[in-house]
Structure formats: structure tokens, C-alpha cells
């Protein structure tokens, strides 16, 4: 086993992102590609660092973005960043956004009760609606609630996901739900093309989820269906508050989308890993290290969009002028501002189910997707 082990189900050790590209067969984003994306910190500052078929996506009309969530807990900052990035692509390009919500995965992989899944699902849907996607261009698909589409598609694709591919990509599954899930993921990623015809799809995704994309590309390449291989935009892990590693809602302390300003400040003050020195005197003399400082990483990744302001913060921190506690508070303020906007929209949704209706696949879209893989009511 390599020193770093990265699969969809675990991330261990320090991650060598360049090595992952070689191992997975993806390509680093070029400067020219970055510039063709709508301006956004995640792309500009490089948290999105690599991709597959990115040029195809940038040149395509129409374009679709697929980015999902599994209801395994409250949504945290890492989720929000990707969803708001997808909204940015929608606003700038008119891209369709498909959001698969994989409650089924939680049965196969998590020791989570149906009641918990139901609760997380409701809260996750509320967060998704609060992002403010355009309902005309956005579809939210809940695997078990939209099983009339998801299951026939997964059934069709399941034939092309061999057991040996499964073993090679994911290892031996524990149960048959785990075995089938890659076919469901493939259904998610090919769905926009089945509904709207062949076009370029981009999947902005943390690098550990890339195997799902590779499986769907493998299925698409068999040319049974009128689809292109989904492209990917691969993201480095946003560090967890406590330091390097993947931010996860299920371990450690994460900032939730429902945290108020006070809670954000408290979590960052108490838990954030900093690049500061042991004492104020030492910090003033030698300066801090923004490269390992988690509050700075959050600002850089997403929450301080102004390059000049970010550079000013970085200089002040390196010089020792800005203390760790001050940097923490600065990051907390920016994050709390972002969350306040999100929470305002979140609170303005009186009825999640009623609001969701505008984001669900229409009967016609369902019929087209099923027909595209050969299911027609005789």
C-alpha cells in the first residue's frame, strides 16, 4: 500500500496530489483552462487543480454539471463551496446542474438508521434549495424517491460494471448494496445526457471520489448509449479545522452551514490548526506560516475572493504583524458573513417539499431518460 491511500471510502496519510494524477490518469489544469472558467477562488487559487476532458466541457453547448451529496450528516463548508461553485457555472455559462442525493448509499455504507437518513435528507435538501440554483436549469434527484429513473438506469449500466472492475476500483464490497452502488453513481453522472441528449458533463469532485467518474467513463466508452464520457474537475481536500486531511461531516469538528457567527468563531478559535508561533513575542519576531494555517487556507480557497486583500493578509501574517488569533477572527468573520446569507435564504423556505417540486425531473424528462437506455412501457 502506498504511504497515502485514497479511495472513495478512506483517505489516509499525506496526499501527494501530483502522484494521484499519475495514478488516476487525470491532467493538471492549465493556466488557459483556469482563465476560461468564470472567475472564482476555487479555480483561480487552485483548490481545483486537475481534470478530465475539461476543454470539451468549456467548449460545449449545452453543458451540465453534476455534483451530489449523501445525507450522512448536516452539510458543512466543504459541501457549500462546491455547490456555490456549480451555481457560479450556472450563472456564468447557463450550465444545467444535476444534484444526485444518494440516500441509498447510506444504507450500504453507513451504520445509520433510516430515521437519521430521513432527518439529514430533509436538512440537506433545505441547504441545496438555499444555494439559489435556477429551477429551470437544475434537477435534484433523490435516489430512492426518484428510483423510477435511477433504478432502471443503474440496471442498464450495471451490466457494464464488471465484478473485476468493482474489485479493482473499490476492493471487495461488504454487501450487495455496496457492489451495486457504482452503477447508481454511473446513472447519476450520465443522467443529464440521457435527458437532454449527448453533451459535455463536468463533475467537480474531491479527488478521492474520482473512481466513480472513472467507472462512469468506462461505461460511457462502451458506446451502448448516446453519451460522452463525463469530464471531471478534481479538487484537493479542504483541510479539516484540526489540520491536514479531508474535511468530513462525520469526524472531527466541521463548520456546519447552520452554525451561527458565535459558533463559527468558537469552533475556529478552539479547534483551528494554525501556522502561528508558540508565543506572541516569537510570532512578532519570526512571523506565521500561512501555508499550514487552516484559517488562512479557508480564506484562500473560497472566503476571501479579493486577491489583493488575501495578499495583504498573507504578508501581514508572514511578517508577524497579524497574530494567529486575529487571523482566526478574520476568517471567522468572512465565513460567518457567507453563512448569514446562506442561512437567510435557508430560513426563507417555508416548505422544503413544496419548493423541491420545481427542481424535480418532469415526467417527460423521466420518460426520455428511461427510453434512452431502452426502457419503454410496452
Amino acid at each position: 500500500m502506498p504511504a497515502d491511500s485514497v479511495t472513495p471510502y478512506s483517505v489516509e496519510g499525506d496526499v501527494d496530489y501530483e502522484k494521484l494524477l499519475a495514478r488516476f490518469g487525470a491532467e493538471a489544469l492549465t493556466r488557459e483552462q483556469r482563465q476560461r472558467f468564470p472567475d472564482q477562488p476555487l479555480v483561480r487559487r487552485g483548490l481545483f487543480y486537475a481534470g478530465r476532458d475539461v476543454d470539451d466541457f468549456l467548449a460545449s453547448e449545452p453543458q451540465s454539471v453534476v455534483t451530489g451529496v449523501g445525507p450522512s450528516g448536516p452539510m458543512h463548508l466543504g459541501h457549500a463551496m462546491v455547490f456555490y461553485f456549480a451555481k457560479r457555472l450556472q450563472d456564468a455559462f447557463g450550465a444545467r446542474v444535476y444534484v444526485p442525493v444518494s440516500d441509498d448509499e447510506k444504507y450500504a455504507f453507513k451504520d445509520q438508521t433510516p430515521t437519521e437518513t430521513t432527518e439529514y435528507l430533509r436538512e440537506n435538501l433545505r441547504d441545496l434549495l438555499a444555494v439559489g440554483f435556477d429551477p429551470a436549469l437544475t434537477r435534484i434527484v433523490v435516489d430512492t424517491e426518484d428510483a423510477d429513473v435511477v433504478y432502471p438506469l443503474a440496471t442498464a449500466f450495471g451490466t457494464d460494471v464488471t465484478h473485476s472492475t468493482l474489485e479493482a476500483v473499490y476492493g471487495t464490497p461488504s454487501n450487495v448494496g455496496q457492489a451495486f452502488y457504482p452503477a447508481v453513481q454511473t446513472a447519476h453522472l450520465l443522467l443529464p445526457q440521457l435527458v437532454h441528449g449527448e453533451h459535455a458533463t463536468l463533475v467537480p469532485i474531491a479527488v478521492d471520489q474520482d473512481p466513480h467518474v472513472r467507472v462512469s467513463r468506462d461505461v460511457a466508452s462502451k458506446a451502448r448509449y448516446p453519451v460522452r464520457k463525463p469530464g471531471a474537475l478534481l479538487m484537493q481536500f479542504l483541510p479539516s479545522l484540526g489540520g491536514p486531511g479531508k474535511m468530513s461531516s462525520s469526524e472531527g469538528v466541521a463548520i456546519r452551514l447552520t452554525d451561527d457567527a458565535e459558533t463559527v468563531r468558537e469552533k475556529i478559535r478552539t479547534h483551528a490548526f494554525t501556522g502561528g508561533r508558540a508565543s506572541v513575542e516569537e510570532h512578532r519576531e519570526h512571523g506565521g506560516d500561512p501555508d499550514v494555517d487552516v484559517p488562512f487556507q479557508y480564506l484562500s480557497a473560497f472566503f476571501e475572493p479579493d486577491d489583493r486583500e488575501l495578499a495583504r493578509i498573507e504578508r501581514a501574517y508572514r511578517s508577524g504583524e497579524l497574530l494567529s488569533g486575529e487571523l482566526k477572527d478574520l476568517a471567522a468573520d468572512r465565513i460567518a458573513e457567507f453563512l448569514a446569507d446562506h442561512q437567510r435564504r435557508r430560513a426563507a423556505i417555508p416548505d422544503v417539499r413544496a419548493e423541491l417540486a420545481a427542481y424535480r425531473l418532469t415526467e417527460d424528462e423521466r420518460e426520455r431518460a428511461r427510453a434512452a437506455v431502452g426502457f419503454q412501457r410496452p
Copy 2:
């Protein structure tokens, strides 16, 4: 590998039915059990020869019978016998009959195009409707069309079907659809209890399909859901026309439910394996052997309900009085009579889809089944 290998996917060699019971852990039907079933040749004459939890079924109120079909070709006599048996249980006991139609399985296991599956599905549904089940007590569930129920249930049960169970019962799957299918089968077999509350379920099934029942019993025994283990009524194989072995629509010549009298006669005359002698003289002198004679087996299994008439035929054949050709014609007549009735009802269905509506799960039933395994719309 034993001389006879019996799995849901292949039957090879001569089958020792007693040995199968020991291997699978089922029990031979007792005379008393046979007598408690409504009188029907399949039970009385022993093609149904063993079972699991049969007493529980016979004593239960309500009772459900689950018997499915996979649209891999036109339906043949073997299918009809089991469906008409289920109707007999419905007429006599008021049993609910659930008929899962597993079009999804054909994607995972068959090299069959979606167009073929759609065509077979339509014809199979027409045959099912022609049986004349009571729509108030009968539900026909097509896996991909009723995926809003089947997929959530299979998702819930998939957690409890471990990969090691899968390997032990079925061997290594070729693709992930095959891996998941036992969870779908479990959904079929537990569905009546999820809709109507805990009660006894009987699965009349060819002995090679017993592993599906065993997997569902294993899931039921984990006591996560309010269900009893499904019972089984195990059937010996009806020989194919050409002789011993499983009758299958996909190999050899089978009598289809749409064959007219002339075709039935022609198929039996041309293809039926007989217990007759090489010449008429020899036959007159030594007599025929009904034990290996396929036309006689068909009469005995199902198509000659009158015991005295069957005994008369057997005596006449053994004595040499009845020739093979005469026995063939006699069987052909009985089968053609049966099929004429079936085909009359079949032809009287103007619109399969319209007719099917009365046999589909209601919204309320769907909701109850999903809720029973924990899926509720938040």
C-alpha cells in the same frame, strides 16, 4: 462439484431431489400437508414435493403467495402450471398473489436487448392477466416500472446480504447487477408482508430457485423488519419435451402458451421423449414405460386431473394397449384444451396496460411498503 449441480443459473446432470432437500435444508411434504392444500394435481401427484414452513402458511390468515417471472421469452407450460396453481390457492384460500416481473434481471444475466425484453414483457403480462387472478387480491410488480417500491426495499435489504453470502449461494457475480439481484429478489418475497403486515408467505418455486428463498429468509431472520421468513413450496422440474431436465423457454422446444392445437400436436409428435418401444409389435408385447414418457408426465403433473382416468391411461400404456403415438395425441389434446381456454381469455384483453392498472400497487400500498423499511419522505 457433485454429479448434479443445481443453482438458480444452471441445472446440470441428473437431479437427486432427496439429496437436494438435505443440501438445502428443506423438508419433504407430508401426506397431511398435501391434504390441507386445495386439491390440485401438482400437489396431489407430487411435482411439489417439499417445502419450508408449509404448516405456518396453511394455518395463516391472511396468506400470500409470491410467484414471479422473468421476461426472457414467451411463457411456456411450466410457467402456466405454477400461475394456475397460485390462482387455485387464491380461489380456495382467498390468498393474496404477488407476481414480481423481473425485467431488471434480464439486463444483468441475459444477452438480451432492451427491445426484446420489452416485447417479452408485454406478452408475459398478457399471459399473466389471462390467468384470471382476482385483481383485488393480486399485485403484479414490474421491477423497473415499480422501482419506486422495489428499489428502496432492495436498498434496505441489500445491507443484510453480505458479499460472502452472495459468493456462497451464487458464486462470484459477473457484474454488479448480478451482485445486487438477490436483494431485489428479497424485496419481492418480503413485499406482501411490508404492505399488509406480518403474515405467512409461500413461494411455489422450482427447486433450483430455492437459493433466492434462502437469502430472503436469512434477511428476514435478522429481525430488522416486521416480517416472517417466507415459506417455500419446492417443485421438481417438469421435463422438457426432449426428456429429463428443466423445461426452459430459452433452450430446446417448449410448448408456448400461444401455441395452437396443431402446433402443440406437432411439437409433441416430433420432439416428445417417449417410453414406448422401438416397434409397434414390441410395444404391444412388452408395453411402454410411463415413468420416463414425457407426454405421460405432463398428463400426470397437471393436464389430466382425474386420477382414475390417469390410472386407466397408465395401465393401458404399460400393457401395450395404448401406443406412444396415441398417448402423445391424448396429451396433446388435453394440453390444447387447456391452452384454448387460456388463449380465449388472452385474446379478450383489448389493452394490456389498461387491464394491468387494476393489478398494480396502489399509492397507499407503495407508501406502506417504503415506510415499513424506514423510507419516509421527510
